[in-house]
């Protein structure tokens, strides 16, 4: 489904260069639920941007596949169509404050050339999936942070994507509601949608992964430090001189 092969990403400024990711190789299968965690600066955001095609890997250094298609060879013009296969959720929700909940979800469908008839049927349906069918006519500001994030999840689901990618989805939400959002993602994963959650909240990841047996990939200093699906990864990381990250150590 999603595959990185020896991907490097370097940000160049006029005076120096900053290596964000080096030699990232991983494979996320269809229907998996994966946490990608790491400290700030570990390369989480870059990893996400590469998947969303906001950034491209260093030239000639690595390949990224989505559904078997090489994203590094994708033409710029084709990027929008590729993005429609992904649903994205952000820490800051990214809702439009002047539009109602219904309009926010409908907007995402309208601008991708979907017919009014489909929109009218689909929007109430996805809002009911996240439990907000009775708040369709509210403005985002009238909702709690957890509810706003659920609107964003509904918007991500509107196109019927095969993959949901979430960037720190609980970062702006009260801790007691974080678990609700995460359980929403677990429910989405139950209907065979691949879920990738990028987060730095280690306790939350630990408790959820323990309960649901989710795969956890740990990034450190731009490299993959551990992957619960493959213990070999952590051994190789340490053997290559990688610094151990004690608080991230996670045993299956």
């Amino acid at each position: 489904m999603i595959e990185f092969q020896h991907v490097y990403k370097t940000y160049e400024t006029h005076s120096d260069e900053n290596v964000a990711l080096q030699d990232i190789s991983l494979k996320i299968n269809e229907g998996e639920f994966v946490f990608v965690r790491g400290h700030s600066g570990a390369g989480k955001s870059t990893f996400l941007k590469l998947m969303l095609m906001e950034e491209r890997p260093d030239k000639g250094r690595g390949k990224i596949f989505l559904n078997g298609q090489d994203l590094t060879k994708l033409r710029r013009r084709k990027i929008p169509y590729m993005r429609r296969k992904l649903g994205v959720v952000f820490q800051d929700f990214r809702l439009i404050p002047t539009m109602t909940v219904y309009e926010n979800v409908a907007f995402a469908m309208r601008v991708t050339n979907i017919s009014n008839k489909v929109i009218r049927n689909r929007v109430p349906y996805v809002l009911s999936l996240v439990g907000l069918e009775d708040k369709m006519d509210r403005l985002p500001d009238e909702l709690s942070g957890g509810e706003q994030q659920r609107v964003a999840v509904a918007r991500a689901l509107a196109h019927g994507p095969k993959v949901i990618i979430a960037d720190e989805p609980t970062g702006n939400i009260d801790p007691e509601l974080s678990m609700d959002i995460m359980q929403l993602f677990e429910a989405i994963n139950k209907v065979h949608i691949t879920v990738v959650v990028v987060t730095h909240e280690h306790e939350l990841v630990n408790s959820l992964a323990a309960r649901y047996g989710n795969r956890v990939i740990t990034l450190a200093h731009g490299r993959i430090a551990a992957d619960t699906a493959d213990p070999e990864v952590a051994r190789r990381y340490l053997a290559n001189g990688g610094q151990p990250v004690p608080e991230l150590s996670y045993s299956v």
């Binding site: 429609r84 991708t112 050339n113």
Partner: protein, 301 residues
């Protein structure tokens, strides 16, 4: 693109215009002024052309013969003039005919025929009609080269003044259109930039959910070109209305000078569609360019 999407994006563009109505108003004001200046320059040029053409229709020169030319010499001169290139026709006026014309003019004061009965002061002349006003200088030179010609009278100075005026106005109009076109692009570019800035959050979301660049751009194009077209309509109304009343006033208040050039302006019916078409094209094309250049940067998310 689906029709419902088209309607939606079109509506979004008009909504943007309303949302930044102050900026829309300001940019349309500048565009309208640009068009008014261009329209004025154009109509001035058209009328100068018209006057030059009118003068062209009055394109004859008068060649006076020496006194005491014999009939045979006169016949030879007439044949020579008739054979000149650029000459369309000649009319002979004998001294008697000239005297008769002037005495007719002054008939109520004195009888010129009696006064000059034995001593006609007028010379015989040829009124030479030209094929084309631009031939005037050449024909005058040729006439002066003939024998038995006393003097050639031609409105050369007026004709040259008008030809050079026509040239200046033509080039001036081109320059004006170029400069004002640039101004319009900058103004629209700026307006759309402000709209884009106000909507950057929406644009970001559109990019992330997979909206194509065409979809993102479309409402801004609607906004830009609608401003341009609306300005064109306003400017057309002002220019055509103003010109209509100016033409009426001009025809109703003749002076010696205006009579010299035909006494009327080019009628509105002959120019209004040119003005409107030019304004619409100007508004549409330049606003399109202004929009395209302002949003390109924001599309690379």
């Amino acid at each position: 693109m689906r029709f419902s999407s088209f309607i939606y994006l079109f509506g979004q563009g008009l909504h943007n215009m309303r949302a930044n109505r102050m900026m829309t108003f300001a940019s349309m004001g500048v565009l309208t002024v640009c068009m008014l200046l261009i329209g004025t320059a154009f109509l001035l040029g058209v009328n100068i052309d018209y006057m030059v053409d009118y003068l062209g229709d009055q394109n004859f020169v008068v060649a006076y013969l020496d006194e005491g030319v014999t009939e045979e010499d006169r016949a030879a001169v007439e044949a020579q003039i008739g054979a000149m290139p650029g000459v369309a026709g000649i009319t002979y006026n004998s001294p008697e005919a000239v005297l008769q014309e002037y005495s007719g003019m002054l008939g109520q004061y004195t009888n010129l025929q009696e006064v000059f009965a034995n001593d006609n002061p007028f010379r015989a002349n040829y009124q030479v009609t030209l094929t084309d006003v631009s031939q005037m200088e050449a024909v005058v030179a040729r006439l002066e080269g003939l024998g038995h010609i006393y003097r050639v009278n031609a409105p050369l100075a007026v004709q040259q003044l008008f030809l050079s005026l026509q040239k200046v106005i033509t080039y001036g109009s081109y320059g004006l259109v170029a400069v004002l076109g640039l101004v319009s692009i900058v103004v629209i570019n700026n307006t759309i930039r402000i709209t884009v800035f106000a909507r950057r959050r929406e644009i970001g979301i559109m990019k992330l959910v997979g909206a194509t660049n065409g979809f993102i751009r479309f409402p801004f194009f609607v906004e830009g070109t609608a401003s341009g077209l609306l300005s064109a309509v306003i400017a057309s109304g002002i220019v055509c209305g103003g010109y209509y009343y100016l033409a009426q006033w001009y025809a109703a208040h003749p002076t010696n000078l205006t009579q010299l050039f035909g006494g009327e302006l080019v009628p509105l019916e002959q120019v209004w569609y040119l003005v409107v078409a030019a304004f619409v094209a100007f508004g549409f094309i330049l606003c399109g360019i202004g929009t395209a250049t302002s949003i390109r940067k924001h599309l690379n998310v």
